[in-house]
């Protein structure tokens, strides 16, 4: 599947679909498509899979795109100002934050993943429910802000502000640690905990969460009184 990711902070992923090829996307992600492409909303995997997808922040229905006997192009856009990242799921399973999944080849399986460690689920910032991408092929994820990708070697660890971990390979260990002493915890701005990501494997970190973005905008939102 040929694709390009274009744009700066509100990116497109432009995907070429040849006859016989199918592209899946989350509902509402389509920004444009050529005239020879048809879209169909499908409850992929049945009702239970759809509900699990919904719980993991994706949509009950996935949208399938097919081109009619010729090559077409579909453009997907994210739902937040940020970046789109292409990940090769065939090289290893990925865990992603809720709402990260944008689209993929149909051979990629999108499922719900549960945070196994109680402490990490409560205080890691990503909650109990995450998205798991497995199978084969390319998948596209998006998140607010700019994204950094780091490939951790075995034993290497990054400490990340809670909720700023966008995605990580399944081989990466996700946990929490204390942010610091009492002064740091109370006045450091990170709260009691930071997220720890320990290699081996790739991790994706965002510069700003959607909640941070919303909080930054709140003082500037127009009100009826002003």
């Amino acid at each position: 599947m040929k694709y390009t990711i274009t744009g700066d902070n509100l990116q497109f992923v432009n995907i070429e679909i040849n006859p016989g090829e199918v592209l899946n996307s989350v509902a509402g992600a389509m920004a444009y498509m050529t005239g020879n492409v048809r879209m169909e909303a499908v409850m992929e995997g049945g009702l239970m899979s759809g509900l699990k997808r919904s719980l993991s922040g994706s949509s009950l229905f996935l949208v399938k795109y097919r081109s009619e006997n010729s090559t077409g192009v579909v453009g997907l856009g994210g739902s937040v100002p940020g970046k789109i990242l292409d990940i090769d799921v065939g090289k290893g399973n990925w865990i992603a934050q809720k709402t990260a999944y944008l689209g993929s080849e149909p051979t990629v399986k999108l499922d719900m993943a549960l945070q196994k460690k109680l402490g990490a689920a409560f205080f890691g910032g990503e909650g109990f429910i995450l998205q798991k991408l497995s199978g084969q092929g390319m998948a596209f994820i998006n998140a607010c802000g700019d994204l950094n990708v780091v490939e951790l070697k075995a034993g290497e660890q990054y400490k990340v502000s809670t909720a700023n971990a966008v995605a990580w390979e399944e081989t990466v260990q996700y946990d929490i640690a204390a942010a610091g002493g009492i002064k740091t915890s109370l006045f450091g701005g990170e709260g009691l905990f930071v997220t720890t990501l320990t290699g081996p494997g790739k991790i994706v970190i965002q510069s700003m969460t959607l909640q941070d973005f919303a909080n930054a905008l709140i003082p500037y939102l127009p009100s009826n009184n002003s």
Binding site: G7, F122, M138, N148, Q157, A178, A179, L192, V204
Partner: protein
């Protein structure tokens, strides 16, 4: 005026019928709500049910917050401030996400 070439049309009659059925269902729901609002006994029972559900949700949320509050400090103490000593990291390992394509991925 230029027209798109090789155009075909797929029927949307069944989909339109489905939309009509959805519209009828919405009207039926609105009628049900109006009937509930105009019938005091049913209204009282419905409001009681809503209050019970809301209270249950609030209690569950408070229990979760309570559990988080109770386990936060023991968890903080148990986890401790972890740090690695004598391990080097490089800025070269941190790659920013920029424009890319399937060709870039093949070359990786």
């Amino acid at each position: 005026m230029a027209e798109a070439t090789n155009m075909k049309k797929a029927g949307t009659g069944k989909a339109g019928l489905g939309m009509v059925l959805i519209a009828v269902a919405v009207i039926a729901i609105i009628a049900l709500v109006i009937w509930i609002l105009t019938n005091p006994d049913v209204l009282a029972a419905t409001l009681t049910l809503i209050v019970v559900i809301v209270v249950a949700i609030v209690i569950i949320a408070l229990i979760i917050v309570g559990i988080m509050f109770i386990i936060a400090i023991p968890m903080y103490v148990a986890k401790g401030e972890q740090y690695q000593d004598g391990v080097d990291y490089s800025l070269d390992d941190v790659k920013s996400v920029k424009e890319s394509s399937s060709e870039d991925k093949k070359n990786e």
